[in-house]
């Protein structure tokens, strides 16, 4: 029997080695290890053996079964692996073909600029306030120290709707409204972004509608040097730490003293180039200390309170920053224009 068992083992291992698919392996398993398999039938004949021989042959038979089983399993795994590899090879795709597009929109460039400025001033403790686009003559002009017939009204040609109502020419009326709302005894720290309108013919540098951001800071003991400090902080955050600011005296009816702010040109750093028209400086905003008439008309005592105000144009900021040469682009909304600033 010993010889029989060894022959079975040899025979089985040979067949396993030659098997190429799982079906053959299954057949081998049945042939040798199944209920009617050769190993089983050999074991059935064990009864004829002597008491002494039985355990020895029994152990040998177990070893043979073990050996065949393990070899079968190993071979099985190997064949599966090969089959899987074949399958995966079949599943290969062209990874260079384009992916399924995902539709993504984006904010308008002006919104980006406005939100960037809003966030900067929010960070400095300012609130963001809105107001009506159809304004009264009082809020748009008179409360800002521009009485009727004031020569400076020529500076801003206005779309009137009636004698007293107009499309606001600036977002400063929001400042006057906020001050009145605050009742003359609370500090005001706000910016007001929004749409404004002027009677202009649209061309590359003029638009009858554009945006403005104005800011106001009113409190006891506000100094002109504070205005300078806040504007410098703003300019460095907005345009880069290496930019310098320059304040020049100017004139606005609602501020006194009044200021025009330039920043050093990013292209030439002050040496003069075509971007800054040779001056080394780029005009960026107007500002000043709030005129005492504006304070008192809004209920703040100019003997006690002082403040500063500033105003800038997001279109101009965007045009300078991105080299845009036609203001109408902002309102045409050509998709090829808007998409350019996805990652701006």
């Amino acid at each position: 029997m010993r010889e029989q068992l060894q022959a079975i083992e040899k025979d089985a291992l040979e067949k396993i080695a030659n098997a190429n698919d799982t079906k053959t392996l299954q057949d081998i398993k049945v042939t040798y290890l199944g209920k009617k398999g050769s190993l089983t039938s050999v074991l059935r004949g064990m009864g004829k053996l002597s008491k002494e021989e039985r355990p020895v042959v029994g152990e040998l038979a177990n070893q043979v079964r073990e050996k065949i089983t393990t070899t079968l399993e190993e071979k099985g795994e190997k064949l599966e692996q090969i089959a899987l590899e074949k399958q995966l090879e079949k599943e290969a795709i062209d990874v260079t073909l384009p992916g399924r597009p995902v539709k993504i929109g984006g904010p308008h460039l002006l919104t980006k600029v406005i939100e960037e400025i809003e966030d900067l001033f929010i960070g400095m403790g300012f609130e963001v306030r809105g107001g009506p686009e159809v304004e009264t003559d009082f809020y748009n002009f008179e409360s800002l120290n521009l009485p009727k017939n004031h020569p400076a009204r020529d500076m801003q040609d206005t779309f009137f709707i009636s004698n007293e109502l107009l499309m606001r020419t600036q977002t400063s009326p929001v400042q006057a409204r906020t001050m009145r709302e605050y009742g003359g005894n609370k500090p005001v720290k706000m910016i007001s972004p929004g749409k404004v309108y002027r009677r202009d013919t649209d061309d590359a540098t003029h638009s009858h509608q554009f945006t403005q951001i104005e800011g106001l800071y009113v409190d006891k003991h506000v100094r002109m040097s504070d205005l300078k400090g806040i504007l410098d902080t703003f300019a460095k955050k907005m345009y880069g730490e290496d930019r310098e600011i320059r304040l020049r005296p100017s004139f606005f009816p609602f501020t006194e003293p009044s200021v025009e702010m330039d920043i050093s040109c990013k292209v030439c750093h002050g040496d003069g180039c075509s971007v800054c028209k040779g001056s080394g400086w780029i005009e960026i905003l107007g500002a000043g200390m709030v005129h005492p008439n504006v304070l008192s008309m809004a209920g703040y005592n100019p003997e006690v309170y002082s403040g500063f105000a500033f105003g800038m144009g997001p279109e101009r900021i965007a045009m300078l920053k991105y080299g845009i040469n036609d203001i109408r682009q902002f309102y045409t909304n050509d998709i090829r224009f808007l998409k350019q600033y996805h990652n701006a």
């Binding site: 399924r100 009137f160 500090p187 720290k189 100094r223 040097s225 309102y331 050509d334």
Partner: protein, 808 residues
């Protein structure tokens, strides 16, 4: 204002500072210098020549052969100018000279005869054609007065002058005069000012014998001075004056006109000369014009006046529109010998009224409008008289005939050092402030730190402490001010809930594929009534119209964002950008008033438009054209995200596809609509199939509550059951869904349509709609019995309500 530096040097020593440096200093002190121009480009080797002889060129009729003495030598020059003649002193470009435009002068032969240079016209020397006096416009320039042969012409003709172009803010009318500029530059450079001191030698005869002055409107004309000037000889004005006028951008005419212009620029005081002999009376009466009164002005236009205008009359009829333009009836001409010179103070608003109604804006009217110096009115008249004596051989009669109620007092402004430092954030000492006042040449009285400034009348812009604060700060230098941060209590800045919600809405829509647009508020007549949301349409609101629009395209205030948004779609599609998705947030303007007496309601709306392909994945044949459900999906997601529930109800809305439009409701409130633009409007506006939505965001905001509390995530499993009903084709899937949800409450948490079928396996007029139901009980695992009971109730309700049956 164009400021000639050579002219300026007569009043203030500017030393050796370059025009560029001076411009920079002026700009930093408050007057923006927009540019620096030179009268002419540099020309070398151009000198004064004397024409010794002038003969016809032997071989050419139109050319002359001249022998020209240029000092060290005599040059033979051929000249083609019609006005060349022997005995003239002219500008000669010698061989080697380079004229403006890089024009090099060489020795040449013309028709066989040598020519060693060129006799120049002013244009050839670089003076702009429009400033060249008419008497020398054709041909060469001839020096009208004594000049030295051989001298370079550049300084004589002021060709080397640098002109600073001042961009004046409205408050700095003082710098509309050379004297005002001199004070400004003197303060900047810390130099004294040298003023002219006009002293005409008047004759004994009294002007009062020839004229009287009455003013009936002193509020508009507090001062009127009339000078009588006899025996004027009209001639070209002296070269220096012509040079300065050219530099200031004014073409010289003749001595009388040039002198009034010169004094206008020097003193900032407009003057007007009448031909005394044409006055037809011996009195001047200044009054408001009568209604419908007419005057023919110097430009030969008849102007109809009203009592908003101020006129100068001869007691009978107007002879000038005050401060704006003289009348043709009293014009000074070549034949004029006796002149009445007017030096007056006209109020800004009187002149502004006339400018507005006539459109005549001039150097004179601008100055009156912005305000002139009351202390220079008479002085300027005297200055003109002095110049007329000198350069027009005129005789000035004694006395100015005046009406005078003019306030010439100086305003007093109090300041003190502490307050100045407190406002500026500086640590100035009183003596620094005093020094600044000296530089500005402002008189003042000082007691310790208290200073009382007497503001000169030339600076009408300074009336209060803050104005003086600016003067101190700007002369001290804005760049010298320290940088500080406010010391007041700090507060946290933050967006309001609404602002934060709007930012969320924007980022959601952008993530969902929509691009933000920004369009115009002002729209056309044709667009204003289109695509208006039904709740607005039924509100009977009236479009708001501008009084004076700039164009027909921008005439009305919008009531809907959609017309402009569709303009964006059509603009892009016309440029072959077909696949588009946009949204916009903005105000619409609503009123019921035909004549607006109060501000309209401004309501915040959100609109969107999509057109073309939504998805484009061609190699996978996976392309999706936009349709109603693409846009609805975005809108649903938006409300889902805000946790605001809205319903969509089939609706017919003007300008929209009648079968593909829904109205949106928030509770019972109608808040907007969604659907396809009506195909005829699509055609009219050149649009491909386009879907739009329009939502009242104010209402959405009222319904929006940001989530603040934690909701437990259910521990027990949910169970999904599907069911399909066969329904009549017209039954709305959304209605059935509502019934299922109601019947299944509270165990059914969610109902979704997952299949709709209509076709060959379905009987005519029917459709099958399959729903997927999610059951859940937060407290326990549901049993089959519980679910079955609910399921049966749902089937019963739906089958009964819609005559439906279950699809097997």
């Amino acid at each position: 204002m164009l400021v000639s530096l050579n002219w300026l040097k007569n009043y203030v020593n500017i030393g050796s500072i370059s025009p560029e440096e001076l411009a920079e200093k002026i700009t930093k002190s408050g007057i923006e210098v927009d540019g620096i121009e030179y009268v002419a480009e540099k020309s070398e080797n151009v000198v004064v020549g004397y024409i010794r002889s002038c003969e016809k060129h032997p071989n050419a009729d139109k050319l002359n052969l001249c022998q020209v003495d240029v000092g060290e030598e005599t040059l033979q020059i051929i000249c083609g100018a019609p006005n060349v003649a022997q005995g003239q002193k002219v500008a000669v470009a010698k061989p080697g000279a380079v004229l403006p435009g890089d024009f090099k002068i060489k020795k040449v032969k013309l028709r066989g005869v040598e020519s060693n240079g060129m006799i120049c016209s002013l244009q050839e020397l670089g003076i702009e054609e429009k400033y060249v006096p008419k008497d020398v416009a054709e041909g060469i320039f001839v020096f009208p007065e004594a000049v030295t042969v051989g001298e370079p012409v550049e300084p004589i003709l002021n060709l080397n002058d640098a002109i600073l172009e001042f961009d004046l803010t409205p408050n700095r009318a003082d710098c509309l005069s050379m004297l005002g500029v001199a004070y400004e530059v003197a303060a900047i450079l810390d130099q004294p000012v040298k003023l002219p001191n006009p002293k005409p030698a008047m004759v004994e005869e009294d002007a009062h014998q020839f004229i009287s002055v009455e003013v009936e409107a002193p509020e508009w004309n507090p001062y009127y001075g009339a000078f009588i000037i006899r025996n004027v000889t009209i001639n070209p004005s002296p070269l220096w004056m012509r040079n300065y006028l050219i530099a200031a951008g004014i073409r010289p005419i003749n001595n009388v006109v040039d002198i009034t212009n010169y004094v206008l620029l020097e003193y900032g005081q407009p003057l007007h000369a009448f031909d005394y002999d044409k006055l037809d009376s011996d009195k001047i009466v200044v009054r408001r014009a009568k209604e419908e009164e007419a005057i023919v002005t110097l430009d030969e236009q008849e102007r109809t006046l009203s009592n908003e205008h101020l006129v100068i009359t001869n007691g009978k009829e107007p002879i000038a529109l005050a401060g704006v333009m003289g009348g043709l009836n009293t014009e000074v001409t070549e034949g004029t010998t006796n002149v009445l010179l007017e030096a007056a103070f006209f109020a800004g608003n009187a002149v502004r009224n006339a400018v507005k109604s006539t459109g005549l804006r001039s150097e004179s009217s601008t100055r009156f409008e912005k305000g002139i110096d009351p202390n220079r009115v008479k002085l300027a008249g005297l200055r003109a008289c002095e110049l007329l004596e000198q350069y027009a051989d005129a005789t000035i009669l004694k006395h100015v005939v005046e009406f005078d109620e003019l306030d010439q007092t100086e305003k007093q402004v109090e300041m003190d050092t502490t307050e100045i430092n407190k406002r500026l954030g500086t640590e100035l000492e009183t003596k620094q402030i005093v020094d600044i006042l000296h530089r500005l040449q402002f008189a003042f009285e000082q007691h310790d730190d208290q200073i009382t400034v007497s503001v000169p009348t030339r600076r009408g812009d300074i009336t209060i402490f803050e104005d003086m604060l600016e003067e101190v700060a700007r002369i001290y230098g804005y760049d010298q001010l320290p940088y500080t941060l406010p010391v007041g209590a700090s507060q946290a800045g933050a967006l309001t809930n609404k602002q934060a919600m709007i930012r969320k809405v924007k980022s959601l829509l952008e993530g969902a594929g929509l691009m933000e647009s920004r369009t115009y508020t002002l729209i056309s007549d044709n667009a204003v009534s289109k695509l208006i949301s039904p709740e607005i349409k039924e509100g009977q609101f009236v479009p708001i119209e501008l009084k004076l629009p700039m164009s027909e395209d921008h005439k009305y205030l919008r009531q809907s964002l959609l017309p402009e948004l569709l303009r964006v779609i059509s603009h892009n599609q016309a440029r072959n950008q077909i696949d588009l998705a946009y949204y916009e947030l903005g105000s619409v303007f609503l009123t019921k008033e035909r004549e607006l007496t109060k501000q309209p309601d401004e309501r915040l709306r959100l609109a969107g438009a999509i057109s073309g392909k939504w998805m484009d994945h061609p190699w996978q044949q996976d392309n999706k054209t936009v349709d109603f459900y693409v846009l609805k999906g975005i809108v649903e997601k938006l409300f889902d995200y805000l946790d605001v529930s809205v319903s969509f109800n089939q609706a017919k809305i003007a300008d929209m596809h009648p079968g593909r439009t829904a109205e949106l409701k928030l509770g019972d409130k109608r808040i907007g609509f969604i659907g396809q633009v009506h195909p005829s409007l699509q055609k009219q506006w050149d649009l491909k199939e386009t879907y739009v939505f329009d939502i009242n965001m104010d209402e959405v905001f009222y319904a929006y509550t940001p989530s603040l509390t934690y909701k437990t995530i259910p521990k027990y499993p949910s169970i999904v059951r599907d069911i399909a009903f066969v329904l009549d084709k017209d039954v709305l899937a959304g209605e059935v869904k509502k019934t299922i949800a109601e019947a299944g409450a509270p165990l059914v948490k969610q109902v979704d349509v997952f299949d709709v079928y209509q076709g060959e396996h379905m009987e005519a007029g029917k459709k099958s709609v399959a729903y997927s139901l999610v059951y859940q009980d937060p407290e326990k695992t549901l049993t089959d019995e519980e679910i079955q009971a609910s399921f049966e109730k749902i089937i019963e309700d739906v089958t009964q309500k819609y005559q439906a049956y279950i699809r097997s």
